[in-house]
Amino acid sequence: MNQVTQTRKNALSLFEQTGLPTTSNEHWKYTDISRIEPLLAESVEEHVSIDASAYVINDLDAYRLIFVNGILDEEQSELPQSISVLSLAALAHSVSDEESEQLAKLFEVSGDEPLFNGLTALNAATASDGATVCLADNAVLDKPLYILHLSNQNNVIRHGVMLGNNAQAEIIEHFVGLDDARVLSNISTNVILKDSANLAHYRLQQEGLKQSHIARVEVKQMRDSSYTLHAVELGGLLSRADIVVNLSEIGAHCDLNGLFVLDGRQHVDHHTRIDHKAPHCSSRENYRTVLDGRSHGVFNGKVVVYEGAVKTDSAQSNGNLLLSKHAEIDTKPELEIYNDDVKCAHGATVGQLDDKQLFYLRSRGVSAETAQELLTFAFADEVLTSMGNNTIRRFIEKAAFAKLPHSDDLKELLD
């Protein structure tokens, strides 16, 4: 048995010991996954081929990886020549013993990791495929890598991203549901950034309104590396993401930006955890939610500053706009600090639109309805302004805008 198979077997045992998280677990208090439990028993059905062109972000100039129900569709993918992007399934079959040892690391899970739960182990044990992206030292990916995940069946995917010293890349993960199937995605993305590496990471979840999405993003950062995440949640019935960033060496920096635009009975829960383990690291976090209908948002952002992590600079903010009296947000920014030489700020706001701003717009001739829509859009858009990729930003703005209440008067905003 090669190393990969053994490691995945261990992950399965870990899952069997742990089981699924329940609402009695503090981190799963607001997210009850008992209703998705039956989905775990359903096996992957027959292979379907789907034309991805209707789902890709069209005007995006990027390399493409297309996954259909958890399997890479090589025909529709376009891989860069210069770097290694390999299908995990193919890799696991063809590797030598030595390579197997390396790859096995991608499947290692430990019950001691922050926000570990049974689904984390289950992902490592049962992932059918994924992308392994390796950039050598000083390599710069000349175009973004766009990974589209299409699904109408259960799918379990595990990606691994490793950027060498000074390497740079932009990776866009896009999740789209093909129909109204009641299925589950379990996606794990594991990132290692070596010295001064720089990764811009986009996660856009637009699955079907009966789909459930479980995600884990784990990032380990070395000296002076920089990681930026833009996590946007628009689709799905239930979506949970655990984002775990480990600033393990001096001078590392991360930015976590999140936006939820929800309505109906959608439920989205993000738990983020940033570990400041080394001196002179900085982190910024900005999450915004706009909740309509009977939707439910959960944000839990925890920053831990370790004893030796002097000169830590951390700021976190979370703004929530409730458009309906039936919408609900549970927000909890948490800060644990174990040394005195730090600068940390955090805060959360929950509210409706600002009366002064509404009156100002109306006094300039903007109708009450348009003024409300304009301010709602501006609130959501604020978190997108830090996106470096304008094509993605426009795409997300349009998708978010379509979900927000809007009249014809406002369309011009996006011209």
Binding site: F359, R362, S363, R364, V366, S367, A368, A378
Partner: protein, 248 residues
């Protein structure tokens, strides 16, 4: 233009305006002066239609219509403009977009066609010059990160674009240094015309050195207690508000 008759108004149950009378005609510039707490800002806010003010009796007739029946946006479409004392910052809402939305909503209300995009930009650039507003401000979010003086200049710029019939300037001079005051006042003077009216609400006489009023009113304890020409402002400066109250 506007006729205010025996206006009584309360804020949070407390009576602030206690029988105020005022008539302003087209082509006139009025200054309403008074000590803090006299009701100056209450009057501006009521005319612009802000929530939280209750008119208990009296009337405001604007262009022969009942102003108090109109929503804030309808008042804007009909030509009422308030230059705010403290303009609010609106991150994410573009300054130019706001004005275009305002101009087009007004045109729609008046049954006119929407403004051509190029004509609009020409208009906006021309008006920005009047208040010496750097064109880079046009692309920024409304008032976001503007200094106090820039915010006031932006108010007068918006006034220039929206071309109101009745402009209320609420403490427009507060927080301005002399240079900024000269620019803002210069902008207002260029907008004076025989078919519009301007009402300045101010605590100090300073602004009136730059924008010369036809009438000066003294507002005290919710009523206009004295009306005169610009010389009244100078007397107030010299003797203080108590002098008017005593000589009433």
């Amino acid at each position: 233009m506007i006729v205010i008759k025996d206006l009584h108004a309360t804020v949070g149950g407390k009576e602030i305006l206690k029988g105020l009378n005022l008539e302003v005609n087209a082509g006139e510039v009025h200054a309403i002066m008074g000590p803090n707490g006299a009701g100056k800002s209450t009057l501006s806010n009521i005319i612009a239609g802000r929530d939280g003010y209750e008119v208990t009796s009296g009337s405001i007739t604007y262009k022969n219509k009942d102003l108090l029946e109109m929503s804030p946006e309808e008042r804007s479409w009909e030509g009422v403009f308030l230059a705010f004392q403290y303009p609010v910052e609106i991150p994410g809402v573009n300054n130019t977009y706001l004005l275009k939305a305002g101009v087009n909503a007004k045109r729609k209300h008046l049954g006119e066609e929407e403004i051509d995009a190029i004509d609009f930009m020409t208009l906006v650039r021309h008006k920005a010059k009047i208040v010496e507003l750097d064109p880079s401000f046009l692309a920024r979010s409304v008032n976001e990160g503007f200094s106090g003086g820039e915010k006031k200049r932006n108010e007068i710029f918006q006034m220039a674009v929206l071309e109101p019939s009745l402009a209320l300037l609420d403490e427009t001079d507060s927080g301005l240094d002399i240079d900024a005051l000269r620019i803002v006042a210069g902008g207002v003077n260029k907008l004076r015309a025989k078919d519009n009216a301007i009402v300045m609400v101010t605590h100090y006489q300073r602004l009136l050195n730059y924008i010369e009023p036809d009438f000066v009113h003294v507002l005290s304890d919710g009523q206009i207690i004295k009306t005169g020409d610009k010389s009244l402002a100078l007397e107030l400066e010299e003797h203080g508000y108590d002098w008017v109250k005593e000589s009433k």
